[in-house]
């Protein structure tokens, strides 16, 4: 069985990120002949001696013209037992916006550091974002090892520095490895030029990482997307069918489970789990299924079906950490829409309690949050949501802030004080 792992790249400009991604795609044989021909042709036109693998990740016309990457691009490659989805996040402008987007769905952040430069401000910021978004794994690629003659001491110095910074930010398990993306050392195969390194290559490492949390140890959370009531179904058997369609956000649901329906708080029992005509005994995150309940209670889109033993508390006031992604500033008094799970409610920004200084990793007082700022806010909601801290439940602690007038996505939000958790762990 092939399983899936989602990656997000991060790094400063010129850390060799495009070359690394190109190398991963090329050496894992995910680049096909016509794509490589195009890269060779362009490389030749530019007077390069060999094909520039970084060109494999070029996307839009303006990116090629300006030689920069503008937006997150998604790449796909696979090995015999794993499929990878890679969110290739540009490193320079709007780093928070892009890195937050990539990291929000990632199982692993692959962070590049230039071995000659060591830990940069940007590195610390990317680590902070990965920590804030609770990405399960961080792999730090110490790149350009060929440019320091594969020197063990230089690598160790940089590696120790990065691991210490990651630990300070609440990520005790960051992994590092020496790589030359340009030469291919330790990208797909282990290099003979780093005999002092006895760990896996980057690809081997990624193949072995566990994808995400274990559903068995998470509480059941099931946001209802829609109610399925096929009144006009051709098949008579389903004339009275009533099912609640959704994707298990966390945990396991079994037939016979006692559940609570939030925010109303009614309770019932699961009597059936359907997957397009197939009856299942149980379902787990992130399966899309349809649940049937014993009682005919009023349930609609936006409700959350949760384990009766451990339901989240519906709240009118939310403390949250937000990454502000819009051009105009966030100020107290603003009215926005908040989307949490399958529920969208009106929200009033009551206070901004601080802006995160990513370099010092502490909260500083602020009157407003500008584009790419990360800060802590309190929100008053028009109707309650079953919110729970993001640090506890990545899938049900997340929310969006949306402009009610033009529909723009304003912010990525995390319930609770993700900042404190990051800075003080």
């Amino acid at each position: 069985m092939s399983t899936l792992l989602r990656l997000a790249t991060a790094g400063s400009v010129d850390d060799g990120k495009s070359t690394l991604v190109g190398r991963l795609l090329y050496d894992s044989k995910s680049v096909l002949a016509d794509q490589f021909d195009a890269v060779e042709r362009v490389s030749r036109d530019r007077g390069l001696a060999s094909a520039d693998l970084a060109l494999l990740t070029d996307g839009l016309r303006s990116e090629r013209e300006q030689g920069i990457t503008i937006d997150v691009a998604y790449r796909y490659f696979a090995t015999a037992n794993r499929t990878f989805i890679l969110a290739d996040c540009p490193g320079h402008v709007q780093y928070t916006r892009n890195t937050v987007t990539g990291a929000s769905t990632a199982d692993v952040v692959v962070l590049l550091v230039d071995v000659r430069k060591g830990l940069q401000e940007q590195t610390r910021r990317h680590l902070a974002v990965a920590s804030l978004l609770r990405v399960p794994h961080v792999v730090v690629v110490v790149n350009k090892i060929d440019l320091v003659d594969y020197d063990h001491d230089t690598y160790t110095r940089v590696s120790d520095e990065v691991i210490a910074a990651a630990r300070d930010l609440g990520m005790p398990e960051a992994l590092t490895l020496p790589v030359s993306a340009l030469e291919g050392d330790n990208v797909v195969t282990r290099s003979a030029r780093t005999p002092w390194y006895d760990g896996p290559s980057l690809l081997e490492l990624l193949e072995g990482l566990p994808a995400k949390g274990d559903p068995d140890h998470e509480p059941l959370r099931f946001p209802v997307q829609l109610v399925i009531r096929p009144q006009s179904a051709a098949d008579e058997r389903y004339r009275d069918y009533r099912g609640y369609a959704g994707q298990v956000a966390s945990g396991v649901v079994r037939v016979g489970d006692a559940v609570a329906v939030l925010p109303g708080g009614r309770s019932s029992t699961v009597v059936g789990i359907d997957q397009a005509g197939q009856e299942l005994d149980e379902a787990f995150a992130p399966q899309s299924v349809t649940l049937r309940l014993a009682d005919d209670i009023d349930i609609s889109r936006g409700d959350l079906i949760a384990a009766a033993a451990d339901p989240p508390e519906p709240v009118h006031d939310v403390d949250g950490t937000v990454a502000w992604l819009a051009d105009h500033a966030l100020r107290p008094g603003m009215k926005v829409l908040l989307k949490h799970g399958t529920r969208t409610v009106q929200a009033l920004v009551r206070t901004i309690s601080g802006r995160l200084d990513l370099d010092a990793t502490e909260l500083r007082p602020a009157d407003a949050l500008e584009l790419n700022d990360i800060g802590h806010v309190t929100l008053r909601l028009a109707s309650p949501i079953p919110a729970e801290p993001y640090v506890r439940a990545r899938s049900t602690g997340a929310f969006l802030l949306v402009d009610a007038h033009d529909g723009t996505t304003l912010a990525a939000g995390m319930v609770g004080d993700a900042l404190l958790a990051t800075a003080t762990v």
Binding site: Y74, L226, Y241, S288, L325, K339, S395, L400
Partner: protein, 303 residues
């Protein structure tokens, strides 16, 4: 290595689950969604997923086909049978009608793919569709690699790749103002191989030309093009009968066949897994025009 969780989905189960979640979000949040359906393998898989998403209820969307007038007859037959079987409403936007009444003119190269944009946008405006499902995949092409799952189009149907909404977690934002619409790509994260493995696993039926068959073709610009009423052989070209199949299905005049003995799903999966050329590179004349052919078409409102 850390312990493997006791429960984990295969990559196909994961992709299926993600796509169904996306399709259900659209059903819940939009008023007039429509599925683009050409009878091509990606749109067939997309429709199959929609059927699974709403079982035992019907798919609550209409189906829209932009017909270039140069479609393979067996694909049109397949389209009609599928729509009939699922009890769906089929809308057709006809490029031929536009050419006949002068709203569009035939291009010098005879290719009709770029001509589909206007009939598509007109149909969206006429029916006031607010969400339009497309079968596009990010692995197909470099401009598509940057496309969001929910991709906002302005009043002119245009895509602005430099100003896309960030897409966070699985919280899709489909809000739009009147006149705008959202293109939705539930297969964004699938690759060509995933599509074929899924077709095999789910026994999804496809038009027969995806499998090896004898066909009269001519070789043009390194591609094998079918000879038919809409695509006659040009002077100096030799018509030969070869055993071929199609990797993509589109306009007959610019979609190439590949030499292939693959007559079953299993054969095709093996062939796709071992291929050295992308499906668009192998079979789409229109994407060879320039480095940015797809990007330019997409900005104007193409699929």
């Amino acid at each position: 290595m850390t312990l493997t969780p006791s429960r984990e989905l295969s990559q196909l189960q994961w992709l299926e689950s993600e796509s169904i979640h996306i399709i259900r979000e659209v059903a819940a949040e939009f008023e007039r969604p429509v599925i683009l359906f050409s009878g091509g393998k990606d749109s067939v898989v997309m429709l199959h997923l929609a059927v699974k998403a709403f079982w035992p209820a019907r798919v609550p969307f209409a189906v829209l086909h932009v017909d270039t007038g140069h479609n393979f007859p067996e694909v049109l037959r397949f389209r009609d049978e599928t729509v009939e079987r699922l009890g769906l409403r089929l809308e057709i936007a006809s490029v031929q009608d536009y050419i006949d009444d002068g709203r569009l003119r035939e291009r010098a190269d005879g290719t009709r793919n770029p001509l589909q944009t206007q009939p598509l946008l007109d149909a969206i405006a006429h029916h006031r569709f607010d969400a339009v499902f497309g079968g596009g995949r990010r692995d197909e092409e470099k401009a598509r690699a940057k496309e969001r799952v929910f991709s906002l189009r302005d009043d002119f149907g245009q895509w602005d790749p430099r100003n896309q909404r960030p897409e966070l977690w699985n919280l899709y934002n489909g809000r739009h103002t009147p006149g705008q619409h959202v293109r939705v790509f539930p297969l964004s994260n699938w690759t060509e191989l995933d599509i074929w493995q899924y077709i095999g696993a789910e026994k999804v039926e496809l038009p027969p030309l995806y499998y090896a068959h004898e066909r009269e073709v001519v070789e043009r610009d390194g591609m094998l093009l079918a000879v038919g009423p809409h695509s006659p052989a040009r002077e100096g070209e030799t018509v030969t009968t070869r055993r071929v199949r199609y990797r993509t299905v589109g306009d007959m005049s610019c979609t190439g066949a590949v030499d292939s003995p693959a007559s079953t799903v299993e054969d095709v999966i093996a062939e796709v897994a071992a291929t050295r050329v992308t499906e668009r590179g192998a079979t789409r004349a229109d994407d060879r025009i320039s480095e940015a052919a797809m990007e330019d078409r997409k900005k104007e409102g193409y699929f």
